[in-house]
């Protein structure tokens, strides 16, 4: 699956970021949301930014996402079922190489824990898409 964004529909409510952070952190913590809303002005237009799950289509042929390729401890692996690149926090050393490598600035780094985080499509049920009131974020199966 992948997340499909319709920028025109985004109203900038940030429900996606609150629910995203809550799903992953069990707290409302927009700074650690794995999704980000970019705003040209505070009255929009808005542009939801989500992880593209790079090269997911060719992952079975051995293609890598830039973040996974950059990771020195091979902490980022591909989940065949959800088609998401997933960080194994047990292996993450906090070197931030993935953050450097991501062309879309979608790696979230928590200084407190010294660990990197990214969108894992909520294990197959993305909460951002489920909660988005305007249809700006939807799930598309490949």
């Amino acid at each position: 699956m992948q997340l499909r964004i319709d920028r025109e529909k985004c109203c900038g409510c940030l429900i996606c970021t609150t629910y995203c952070s809550f799903h992953h952190e069990r707290a409302i913590w927009p700074d650690l949301a794995r999704i980000r809303i970019e705003a040209e002005t505070d009255c929009g237009p808005f542009s939801p930014q989500v992880c593209r799950q790079c090269n997911a289509r060719r992952a079975s042929d051995g293609a890598m996402a830039p973040c996974a390729e950059a990771c020195p401890t091979e902490a980022i692996g591909f989940d065949q079922i959800t088609e998401a690149w997933v960080i194994d926090v047990e292996l993450c050393t906090g070197c931030r190489a993935c953050e450097e490598a991501c062309p879309f600035d979608m790696i979230v780094f928590d200084e407190g824990r010294g660990l990197a985080f990214k969108c894992n499509l909520c294990g197959g049920e993305p909460t951002c898409a489920a909660m988005c009131p305007s249809g700006a974020i939807e799930i598309r199966n490949r």
Binding site: C11, C13, T18, A27, I28, G44, M131, P133
Partner: protein, 633 residues
């Protein structure tokens, strides 16, 4: 150690006279007994700003206060309260704004900011998480609100900074100055911007990077997601979402509840020029939401051409379409938008500013004032140049007449005399918003009992506005129908108003919106808020306890007003509503007499029929023994 979740657990005390900034732990007893937001501010005002403190004195407090659900997962949790003694009315004052500042403050680790003192030079307060500084704002003084916001964003090199700012009107002492909250939301009523200006505080700027924890994450998530599902399934969700508050313009007009020519009438013949359809056709750009709100009743409106081409603003509300439109007999939508923008930039309440103009226009019509009084302006109904000129002059208090109007209709009428009082449409000094008690009896009662003076949002009786029998049935049951849903019926309305005031006090104290489910849509009610609060905070919250808290907050505000001399005689509508039958719509031939409803309301409240003050027994029941002492009951 503050034991509850949902809160940041501390509040900020800023003394602008001494320049001190202090962090205070949130008192658990305040959370348990007053929740936060409005309740927190009410208690602090009661404790620290007595009758001896003038609203604009340095010792007066200006309280920015969030609640435990602000910034969380429940729908529309972006609301923030501002509380202080109103310089416009001289009594209890509060104002509430949506947007993004409240949540940002909590992410920065603060539940509230309490400002006292007066800076010797213009200042602004910078809050970056735990780091709080008072900065020189001499460069910002005199700037309009959007110029101030931009200057702070540039100074911080951060587009995501959230602000509360005042404009020139507040600096100049206009008594109905508001506070603009990112992005273009207004805490407009009661003149709390004027209080901010008197402290020489130009702005509050906040960035926060932290988290809000909740007590029972699974339960809280379940409750919040359920609220979202119910709201989106609500039969009127789509309409409110599509059109926002302008969507009710034509309905209210048909009811005769759309004040026209300073309340001479309740319907505007050219209402089609001001309704949602006209507004959207002329200027709609996109839907916009406040923090965490699925309704997105805000819209971006931009004028592409015409004399005000380029005018762009967020949220043109029902109230402003009335105040700058029908109330002043103006059917030119572009002028309404330009007036709205001018008020936003200058930092003035569009309702009170508009009512000052309609009041003046009626005095002109009645020949109570002439060119010598008006600074040379002919105040003919609907004159678009006059509307904009008067607003500009009021904001700058440019001449004697504009300066007089900038003190609100009550003071202006007193100063003018010659019968002008008959046309000052206010209760307790607060200009009446875009409702008419003759057309909706519960609203007439709400106007007189509201603790901040004439106001629809304290009781916010939405149930009988246009007649929502399904909502009335859902909330109150079969026994209350059909009258509960009938705008002209008085039966059951004292109960509707009391219940709305108590519930509204809770809604304003937890930090959610009245237009996104609690009153408009009438979906989220006592038991819902109680469940969400308990899961978020960990404070045991049976529904009866929550009702007790709502009643307690409302009673303490009434006691505050009683200390400031308010009695039953002040709970009174202007003569026009009592004596002049409405000529309009569904309300044709109607007047309103609030006395019988008031008797019943006081009885329901446990207040004295004679004074309108809470009784000793009621205050004991509400744990307000210090109020018994203060009022010498």
């Amino acid at each position: 150690m503050f034991p509850y979740k949902g809160y940041a657990g501390r509040w900020l005390h800023v003394n602008l006279t001494t320049g001190s900034v202090t962090s205070h732990p949130y008192d658990p007893a305040l959370a348990e007994g007053y929740l936060g937001g409005n309740g927190f501010g009410t208690r602090l005002l009661w404790d620290h700003v007595g009758p001896e403190v003038a609203p604009l004195a340095p010792e007066s407090l200006l309280i920015f206060s969030t609640g435990p659900l602000c910034g969380t997962l429940v729908p529309n949790p972006g609301r923030m309260e501002v509380i202080g003694k109103s310089p416009l009315t001289g009594i209890y004052g509060d104002s509430n704004a949506g947007g993004f500042l409240g949540p940002e403050l909590k992410f920065a680790g603060w539940d509230a900011v309490v400002v006292t003192g007066r800076s010797d030079r213009p200042a602004y307060l910078a809050i970056r998480d735990g780091r709080v500084e008072i900065h020189d704002a001499r460069e910002l003084w005199g700037l309009t609100t959007s110029e101030t916001e931009k200057a702070i964003r540039d100074l911080w090199d951060d587009a995501a900074v959230k602000t509360a700012v005042i404009g020139p009107a507040a600096e100049n002492g206009v008594l109905f100055s508001g506070i603009q909250i990112t992005p273009q939301r207004s805490a407009a009523r009661c003149g709390l911007g004027t209080v901010m200006g008197s402290k020489r505080l130009k702005a509050l700027a906040v960035r926060g990077h932290g988290a809000i924890q909740v007590a029972d994450p699974d339960r809280f998530h379940e409750i919040s997601a359920d609220f979202h599902r119910r709201l989106r399934a609500n039969p009127i969700f789509e309409a409110v979402s599509a059109h926002g508050t302008p969507g009710i313009v034509s309905m209210m007009d048909a009811l005769g509840r759309f004040p026209t020519k300073n309340f001479q009438m309740g319907s505007f013949p050219q209402v089609d020029a001001l309704d949602a359809e006209a507004l959207e056709a002329r200027a709609f750009v996109r839907h916009l939401a406040c923090f965490g709100c699925p309704v997105a009743c805000d819209k971006l409106y931009t004028l592409a051409d015409g004399p005000f081409a380029g005018t762009s603003l967020r949220s043109v509300e029902y109230e402003t379409l009335n105040a700058m439109g029908a109330a002043v007999w103006n059917a030119d939508l572009d002028t309404v938008l330009a007036a709205n923008r001018l008020c936003d930039e200058m930092g003035m309440d569009t309702i009170s500013a508009g009512r000052a103009i309609s009041f003046a226009m009626e005095l002109w019509e009645q020949e109570i004032i002439n060119l010598d009084d008006t600074g040379g302006l002919r105040l003919d109904w609907g004159d678009q140049d006059v509307i904009l000129t008067l607003l500009e002059r009021m904001a700058r208090r440019e001449d004697d007449f504009a300066a007089l109007l900038s003190q609100g209709v009550r003071r202006a009428a007193e100063a003018i005399g010659r019968g002008a009082e008959a046309y000052a449409m206010h209760v307790k000094g607060m200009a009446i918003a875009a409702q008419d008690g003759r057309a909706q009896k519960s609203m007439g009662l709400a106007h007189v009992t509201s603790n901040r003076g004439a106001d629809h949002l304290k009781a916010f009786p939405t149930i009988d506005e246009t007649g929502y029998p399904d909502e009335a049935h859902r909330r109150y049951g079969e026994a209350y129908l059909p009258e509960m849903a009938q705008p002209l019926a008085t039966k059951h309305k004292p109960f509707l108003v009391k219940d709305g005031e108590d519930f509204g006090a809770v809604v304003d104290s937890v930090g959610v919106c009245k237009s996104g489910g609690t009153f408009v849509l009438a979906e989220i009610y006592w038991s819902d808020i109680a469940a969400a609060l308990e899961a978020a905070t960990g404070i045991p919250m049976p529904v009866e306890r929550l009702k007790w808290i709502g009643e307690r907050i409302y009673n303490l505000q009434r006691c505050y007003n009683a200390l400031h001399g308010i009695t039953r005689k002040d709970d009174r509508l202007p003569r026009r509503f009592r004596e002049e039958p409405s000529p309009s719509g569904n309300a044709r031939g109607e007047t309103i007499d609030t006395e019988a409803m008031l008797d019943e309301y006081y009885a329901l409240r446990g207040w004295s029929q004679e004074t309108g003050w809470p009784t000793r027994e009621k205050l004991q029941e509400l744990g307000l023994d210090d109020a018994i002492e203060a009022l010498d009951l």
